[in-house]
Amino acid sequence: MMMQFIYALPMAIVVLGAILLMLLSNSKITLNRLNLISVAILTLSLILQFVLFGEKESTYLFSSIFGNTFILDDFSAIFDVMFTLGAILTLLINNDYFKSREYFAGEYFSLILFSVFGMMILAHAHELVTTFIGLEIASLSIYALVAYHKTRTISTEAMMKYIVLGSMTGAFYMLGTALIYGAVGSTSFTEIAAYIHSHDLSNITVLIVGASFIMITIMFKIGAVPLHAWVLDVYHGAPYPITMFMASTFKIGIFAVALRLYLVMFAPINSFWSEILQVITILTLLGGSWLAINQTLVKRMLASSSIVHTGYLLIAISSIGLGSDLAAPAVMFYLIAYFLSSVGSFGILSFIASKKKKQMTYDDFKGFAQRRPYMAIMMSIFMLSLAGFPSTIGFLGKFYIFTAAIESGQILLAGLGIATAFISVYYYFKLIAMMYFYESDETQKKFPVGISTVLIVIISLIVIWGGIGTSLIPFVPGADGFMNFASQAISSLK
C-alpha cells in the first residue's frame, strides 16, 4: 500500500500543485514567481518519475479501490516524462512571452498543470471511461487556454471551433464506449481484449463499430485529414505558448492512448482497420502538404506541417496492424523526435514574438541570420530535423517509420511518405532561405542569455546528438539510446 502511494506521487503532485496554483492565482504573487512555483512542482514530479523509472513491474494502481483502471508501466512512465518535460519547457521557454502580454494571469499555470494531469491519466488509463475522463480534463484545460487572449476575436473563434467540434467527437467516443460495453459487459481493456480473443471476427460487429467510433475521436484529436479542419485555425488563434504545448505535448498524449488501444486492446482485430487507416494516411499526407505549401504565416505553416507529421505517424500505426515489429517503437521514437523539434521551433517563434507584437510571416524572417546568427542556426537545425534531413533526430525518426512501412509490406505508403518528405523540404527550406539569403538593415544583436534561450540551445544540441550520437558516452542517450527507451516502453505493454 505504501509503495502504491509512492507510485501515485508523481501524478498526485501535479494535480495537487494545480489546485494549489489555482488558489494562489488571485493572490499578489507575481507571474514570474507563479511560473517558478509551477516549474518546481513539475520538476519535483519529474525527479520522482526518474527515481521510480524501471523500479516496478507493470502493476495496477490501488487496484482494491480503483479496480483495474490505472496501470503503471514503463510505457506510461515514458509518456509521463514527456508530458512533464513538455510542460516544463513550455513554461520556461515562454518566460519572456507571457511577461510581454498583459492578458496572462495566474490561472494559466494552473490550467497547464491540469492538462498535464489529464494527459497522465490518459497514458495510465486501462479502462475506457477513465480514458475519457483523462481526455476531457486535458481537452477542457486546452480549450480554456486556446481562448486565453479573450479580447482577441481570432482566439475566441478558435476556441469555439475547437470546443464545438471537440465535444462532438467526445460524444462519438462515449457512443463507442457504450456500444463496446453493450457487447462486452465491461469497459476494462483487459476484459475487452479477452473478449476479442475468444470471439470470431464476424461475431463482434457491435464492438468493431464501437471501436471505430473511438478511432474517429482519436483521428480528430491528432488532426488527421478529413478531420483536420480545426487544426490551422486553432493553432493560429492560440497564443504561442499554447500552440507549442498543443503541437508538442498534447498530440503525444493522444498517441499514447492510440498506441495502447492498438497494441493492447484491439491487437487481434487491427487488420480490420488497415485499409481505412491507409486511406486516411494518404489523405493526411497529401492534404497536410498541400496546406503547408500555401501558408505565408510561419505559425500556420508549422500547424499544417504538424498534420503531415501525423500522417507519418499514421503510416507506422497502420504498419503495427500489418505485423511490423519495428513500427511501435518507431512511433515512440518519432514522437520523441517530433516533440524535440517542434518544442524548439515554436520556442524560437514565441521568443521572437515576445519582442514584437505581430504575426510572423516568412517575409519577417528576411535577414534574421544577420540580426540573430545563433538563433538562426538553431531554427535551421529544427527545420532540418522536421524536414528529416540526415544528421538530425528527425531523419532517424523517418528512417524507422519508412523501414517499418516497408517491413509491413506497405511499399507504396512508404514511397508516398518519402515523397511528402520531399515536399516538406520545400516549406522548411523556404524558412532557412528567408533567414539566410536576404540582407538586413538592422545590426547584429547580442545573443540574449536567458533561461529560454539556453533551453533552446540544449534542445538543438539534443536534436543533433539524437541524429548522429552513438551510445559511446555513458548516461547520454544517443540515437541508439532513444530507440532503446522506445523499445523498452513498447515491450512493457500488456
Binding site: F389, P390, T403, A419, V425, Y436, T470, M483
Partner: protein, 492 residues
C-alpha cells in the same frame, strides 16, 4: 593514428570550423585556420597515397557500430576509385582558399570547410546510411553559398538545386531502405553496409526498380540531359569556389555513385539501363555543346561544357570495357583539374571586369599575357588538347566506344569536335579582338600564379606521362570490371 586516418581526413575541416566557430574567431584567424586544415588534409592524403597498395582492395578500413539496433555502421575505406576523387578534393581545396584570400565574409569560410567534410565523407563511406548522410549534408553549404553569396536570381536558383537534388536523394533513400529490409528478410540481421547488401540475391524485377532509385539520384547530380535544368542557373549564380566544387567534385560524385553503388550493388542489372544512359549521354554531348556554343555567359558556357564532359564520363562508364573505364576514371581526374582551373580563371575575370559576358569582354591578350596563357591553357585542356590529360582520357573512351559499336564511337568522336568550336570561338572573342572595357586590367599576381601552377603541372603530367598513373588503378579496375562482366556472362 593510421587506424583512424580516414576519419581524421573527413572530420578535420569540420572540427576546425567548430573550434573556430566556438571561439568566434576573427576573419584573419579563420582564413589561416581553414587553409591550415586543408593543407594538413592534403599532407595526410599524400601520405595515404604513398602507402596505398594498388593490388589490394579496400584499405585503411574503419568499421565501428553506429546505430546498433538497425545495424548501421560507421564504415570507411579507400580503394582506387575513392582515392582518385579524394586526391582531387584535397588538391583543389588549398588553391581555392588562396583564391578566396580577400574574402571577408565569415560564413563563406565556414561553408567551405563544411563542404569539404561533406564531399570527403561521401567518397569514403561504405555504409549506405552513412553515405546518404554525407550525400545530403554536402548540399547544405552549397545551398547557403549560392543563396547568400551568389548573384543573379540566386535565391531562386539555390532552392531549385536543393529541391532537384533532394528529389534524387529521396528516391535513393527508398532504395536504401528497401535493400536494408531485404537483407533483414534474407539473413535476419539488419545491415546497411555496402558489402553485405551487395551479396543479397534480388530478383530481376526488384533490382531493376531499386537500381532506378539510385540512378535517379546520381543522374540528377551529374546531370545527364533531361535532368539538367538546375545546372546552368546554379552554376551561373554560384560564387566561384562553389562552382569549382560543384563541377569538379560533386558532379563527379554522381559518376562515383554509379560506379561504387550502382555497379557495386546491382552489377549487371545496371546494364538494363545501358541503352537509356548511352542515348542520354550521346544527346547530352551534342546538346550541351550546342548550348555552350550559343551561350554568352562564360560561367554558363562552361557549365554546359562540364555537362557534356560528364555525359562522356557516364557513357564510358556504362560501356563497361577496360578502355572506356580507364578513360572515364582518367577523365574524372583531368576534367576536375581543368574545370577547376577554368572556373577560377572566370572568377578572376569577374573580379576584374565585374562581368562574365563574352560580349562585354575582349582584348585581354594585349594587356595581360600571363593571364591569357593560363586562360587559354585551361580552356584548351577542357577541349582535350593533346599533351594534356583530357586528350588521353577522351581518346581512351572513344576507343572503348568503337569497341562496343562503330556508330556509338563515330558519334562520340564527332561530337567531341564541337568542344573545339566553342572553346576556340570563345577564346577568340574574349582574349583577342578589340578592347571592350575601360577598366585597368591587372595581370596575374604571384598569389594567383601559385594557385594555378599546380593545376597546370598536374594537367601536363597526366597528359604527357599517363603511364605514371595507370599502374595505380589498373589492377583493381580490371578486377572490378571482370567481376561485373562475369555476372553478366552468368545471366546470359
Amino acid at each position: 593514428m593510421t587506424d583512424h586516418i580516414l576519419s581524421i581526413i573527413i572530420f578535420l575541416p569540420l572540427f576546425t570550423a567548430l573550434v573556430l566557430g566556438i571561439v568566434r574567431a576573427e576573419v584573419r584567424l579563420l582564413k589561416i585556420g581553414s587553409f591550415l586544415s586543408s593543407a594538413v588534409t592534403l599532407m595526410l592524403v599524400a601520405w595515404l597515397t604513398f602507402q596505398f597498395d594498388p593490388h589490394a582492395g579496400m584499405q585503411f578500413v574503419e568499421h565501428a557500430p553506429w546505430i546498433k539496433n538497425m545495424g548501421i555502421s560507421y564504415y570507411l575505406g579507400v580503394d582506387f576509385l575513392s582515392l582518385t576523387v579524394l586526391l582531387l578534393i584535397t588538391l583543389l581545396m588549398p588553391p581555392l582558399y588562396l583564391y578566396m584570400k580577400h574574402e571577408e565574409r565569415k560564413g563563406y569560410w565556414y561553408n567551405m570547410m563544411l563542404l569539404q567534410t561533406g564531399v570527403t565523407g561521401a567518397v569514403l563511406s561504405l555504409d549506405l546510411v552513412l553515405f546518404y548522410l554525407f550525400w545530403e549534408t554536402m548540399l547544405l553549404p552549397i545551398f547557403i553559398m549560392i543563396g547568400k553569396y551568389g548573384n543573379g536570381m540566386h535565391q531562386y536558383n539555390a532552392m531549385k538545386i536543393v529541391l532537384m537534388t533532394i528529389l534524387g536523394s529521396m528516391s535513393m533513400l527508398f532504395s536504401i531502405l528497401y535493400l536494408g529490409y531485404m537483407h533483414y528478410e534474407v539473413t535476419g540481421l539488419w545491415s546497411f553496409a555496402l558489402n553485405d547488401l551487395s551479396q543479397i540475391d534480388l530478383n530481376a524485377q526488384t533490382s531493376i526498380y531499386l537500381a532506378a532509385g539510385f540512378l535517379l539520384a546520381f543522374v540528377i547530380k551529374i546531370p545527364l540531359v533531361g535532368f539538367h535544368t538546375w545546372m546552368a542557373p546554379a552554376y551561373g549564380s554560384a560564387p566561384t569556389p562553389a562552382v569549382v566544387i560543384m563541377s569538379s567534385i560533386m558532379a563527379k560524385l554522381g559518376v562515383y555513385g554509379i560506379w561504387r553503388f550502382g555497379f557495386g550493388l546491382f552489377e549487371s542489372t545496371l546494364l538494363y539501363y545501358a541503352p537509356v544512359i548511352v542515348v542520354l549521354s550521346l544527346i547530352g554531348l551534342l546538346y550541351y555543346a550546342i548550348r555552350a556554343i550559343t551561350e554568352d555567359n562564360l560561367r554558363k558556357m562552361f557549365a554546359y561544357s562540364s555537362g557534356s564532359h560528364l555525359s562522356l564520363i557516364a557513357l564510358g562508364l556504362i560501356l563497361t570495357n577496360i578502355y572506356a573505364w580507364s578513360g572515364s576514371l582518367y577523365l574524372i581526374a583531368t576534367h576536375a583539374l581543368a574545370s577547376a582551373g577554368i572556373f577560377i580563371m572566370i572568377g578572376l575575370v569577374y573580379k576584374r571586369f565585374k562581368t562574365v559576358h563574352i560580349s562585354e569582354l575582349g582584348g585581354i591578350a594585349s594587356r595581360a599575357p600571363k593571364f591569357t596563357f593560363f586562360f587559354a591553357f585551361f580552356a584548351l585542356s577542357i577541349a582535350g588538347l593533346p599533351g594534356t590529360g583530357g586528350f588521353v582520357a577522351e581518346l581512351l573512351i572513344i576507343i572503348g566506344a568503337f569497341k562496343v559499336n562503330f556508330w556509338i564511337g563515330f558519334f562520340t568522336a564527332t561530337t567531341m569536335l564541337a568542344a573545339m568550336v566553342y572553346v576556340f570561338w570563345m577564346l577568340q572573342r574574349t582574349l583577342f579582338g578589340p578592347d571592350n572595357s575601360s577598366c585597368d586590367f591587372q595581370d596575374l599576381n604571384a598569389r594567383e600564379l601559385i594557385m594555378l601552377l599546380p593545376l597546370v603541372l598536374m594537367l601536363l603530367v597526366t597528359g604527357i606521362a599517363p603511364s605514371l598513373f595507370t599502374p595505380l588503378f589498373e589492377p583493381q579496375l580490371s578486377l572490378f570490371l571482370s567481376d561485373i562482366l562475369h555476372t553478366l556472362g552468368g545471366v546470359k
